[in-house]
């Protein structure tokens, strides 16, 4: 069993929280005593931070729509088709026909990469996230 110090993924408070890892599964969450925000406390969402990680409803394989249904496909098939469509529509609309939504749930590094991808590759500034919602 390990306890991995990380940062809570719910609200903007940003509590320091330990995830308990047992045999490849996250089985619990507990607050850091010394962290300046959590100081040994979590809210009810924080104490149940691990509940959704192994939910049976998690997506575990890429899906593609075929004959109206979303069906499992390989990563290569999903990535190739997405790149082809974004490239085609981006080129035909000079980037203006593409919209990108980033996420306040993803990391800084991922947000950085997605805006770089939008601006440098798709050639559009149509990128935003739910900051106002």
């Amino acid at each position: 069993m390990r306890h991995v110090l990380t940062t809570c993924v719910y609200c903007g408070c940003g509590c320091g929280v330990y995830l308990r890892e047992e045999n490849g599964r996250v089985t619990g969450a507990s607050p850091s005593r010394n962290h300046p925000v959590s100081r040994g406390n979590l809210c009810v969402k924080g104490w149940h931070l691990h509940d959704f990680i192994h939910s049976p409803k998690r997506l575990t394989t890429p899906l593609m729509r075929k004959n109206g249904e979303l069906v499992p496909v390989s990563w290569d098939a999903a990535l190739d088709y997405t790149a082809q469509e974004l490239g085609r529509i981006g080129a035909s609309t000079n980037g203006q026909g593409i919209g990108v939504l980033s996420s306040a749930k993803c990391t800084n590094e991922e947000n950085f990469l997605l805006q770089k991808f939008s601006r440098a590759v798709l050639k559009t500034n149509n990128i935003d996230h739910c900051a106002r919602l």
Binding site: V4, G16, L63, T82, L113, T124
Partner: protein, 538 residues
């Protein structure tokens, strides 16, 4: 954020969370803090235990309002007249900090002229708050040495959201309650990394570090580092994209970890846009309502399965550490973007997420000193952090504002876009609850959280309930001009007569079918907090 950017020059919390504990007066406006920011509320209540005065301005009697020295239950959407009235009282009673105004601010004459034109009796009628209470709040806030204002989406989610924020900034500058420790203006950011997503330039008008895309010097810097041409014109905002409709400019969308089909207002319009796209790709950990409309869905790794950083509401950049490898065939969003970029002929090569942070530090001056190594051995760093020896910045605007001098922006009352009328006689407000998070895609997976709170309830005042012959637990049909939902009634005098309140976390009760898409023209924040509805017992 646009409101603080125009007044202070920087749209972020000016204090650290722990400073709130040592404030003498805490003014909370448009924030249901105990439910949405439990740790911040804890600091507020600790401060009250130590003798601080708590003023809560909220149309509802929230839990925090029940602990307050003074609760001003204003009419929804009348924040500007209320704040203006407080400022007028401060002028009339000579409680303004003239030295601070002279040394640190500009455009005070315009604010003073506007305030002297106001009639306090009229503002009392518009806000529905007794002048005596307004006066007491103004005196408490202005006379204390250490006063903090905390606000949240109750301020920004109005068509006059930017003006609301500017009015708060005016109040703080008028009394000199900005520059010091334990004193400031604190917007509480909702999502764990909404501050970071803004910092990283996931916005249509700025590169990372709030550097405008239409500024040639900034653009050339990014073009040099990224070795490619970049578009100069600012892009479309979120609502301009999701509400562009079947005939709008959107042909394809890539959505990473968001669920606009539950989180955006006027959902029918969002659905029309998404179903008309030639191509929609969604990356998420669950098959959300939005993902179910996609042509391609990528299974993303959750926060427990990756490394990186989040930036909290007090600008603290902190490490996210991987606890387990991605489950199933999941990949991190970073890997998905890198793979797509490579296929489109632009190679992104990073050894690790720490190397991505090095590029962020190179390009965004406020992050210049932030490295994963430094975060690993600390409790994070608060930006601005100008170099690798810089200790970070717990509170902003010491000695000077980010923009130089603080700028007063006087504002007049702007009524909400849609007020109750004969056909839609109730005013609907919506917000968050302690047990759930945003559109519920994560918290609704928890059996315990669902047991504590498993469905949306509509708070309705006992007088209205009696008139409609509704008892607690009865099912109602609630309709606006845009759509309808079925919802269970909860009778409580926490809401005023004529107003109803509920939460938007529940997919089976999509409240945002009803909400209005009217938005603030500058910040483009939709007016979630006010729309007109009618109720029918089922």
């Amino acid at each position: 954020m646009a409101g603080l950017a125009t007044t202070f020059g920087s749209g972020a919390m000016t204090n650290a969370i722990n400073e709130i504990e040592d404030a003498e007066v805490i003014l909370v406006i448009g924030s249901n803090t105990t439910e949405a920011h439990p740790q911040v509320a804890r600091r507020m209540l600790n401060a009250v235990d130590k003798g601080a005065k708590l003023i809560v301005i909220d149309p509802r009697r929230t839990r925090l309002a029940e602990c307050a020295t003074l609760h001003l239950a204003l009419a929804p959407g009348t924040d500007i007249p209320l704040l203006n009235a407080m400022m007028r009282v401060i002028l009339d009673e000579s409680l303004a900090d003239q030295l601070f105004i002279d040394m640190r601010t500009e455009n005070f004459a315009a604010l003073r002229a506007m305030l002297y034109r106001l009639d306090l009796a009229e503002l009392e009628a518009v806000t529905g708050v007794l002048l005596e209470d307004i006066r007491r709040a103004a005196q408490l806030y202005a006379r204390a040495r250490r006063s903090v204002v905390c606000y949240c989406l109750g301020i920004t989610q109005h068509i006059c959201g930017t003006a609301n924020v500017q009015s708060i900034a005016n109040l703080a500058m008028l009394t000199g309650h900005v520059e010091k420790q334990f004193t400031g203006v604190d917007p509480l950011r909702g999502q764990n990394n909404v501050q970071g997503a803004c910092d990283m330039g996931a916005l249509p008008n700025v590169f990372p570090g709030y550097q405008a895309v239409d500024n040639r010097d900034y653009r050339e810097k990014f073009e040099r580092v990224w070795q490619t041409r970049l578009p100069a014109a600012p892009g479309l905002s979120l609502l301009d994209m999701t509400h562009s409709g079947a005939c709008g400019p959107m042909r394809a969308m890539f959505i990473m970890g968001e669920n606009p089909l539950r989180s955006d207002p006027s959902l029918d319009r969002v659905e029309e846009t998404l179903t008309s796209l030639a191509f929609l790709a969604v990356s998420d950990i669950f098959l959300t309502e939005t993902a179910a409309h996609a042509h391609v869905v990528f299974p993303a790794a959750s926060f427990a399965e990756k490394t990186g950083t989040f930036t909290n509401t007090e600008r603290r950049v902190q490490l996210v550490r991987q606890a387990i490898p991605p489950i199933g065939d999941c990949r991190t969003d970073a890997d998905i973007i890198i793979a797509l970029s490579g296929r489109l002929g632009y190679a992104m090569a990073y050894e690790s997420t720490a190397e991505i942070m090095e590029e962020i530090a190179l390009l965004a001056p406020i992050y210049a000193g932030i490295r994963h190594d430094r975060l690993r051995h600390s409790w994070g760093l608060q930006w601005p952090c100008w170099n690798t020896a810089h200790p970070g910045t717990p509170f902003l605007h010491k000695y000077y504002f980010t923009r130089g001098k603080g700028h007063f922006v006087p504002n007049d009352h702007l009524p909400p876009a849609e007020l109750p009328c004969q056909d839609f006689p109730f005013l609907l407000n919506s917000g968050r609850i302690y047990h759930h998070y945003h559109t519920g895609s994560m918290t609704r997976q928890s059996a315990l959280l669902n047991r504590e709170c498993g469905e949306a309830l509509l708070m309705i005042h006992p007088a209205d309930a009696a008139r409609l012959k509704v008892r607690g637990g009865d099912r109602l049909c609630m309709a606006s001009r845009r759509g309808a939902v079925e919802i269970k009634a909860e009778i409580t005098d926490q809401v005023a007569a004529g107003s109803v309140y509920t939460n938007f976390h529940f997919g089976e009760t999509p409240i945002n079918r009803l909400t209005i898409a009217a938005q603030d023209p500058v910040a483009q924040c939709p007016e979630f907090k006010v729309c007109a509805v009618r109720l029918e017992k089922l």
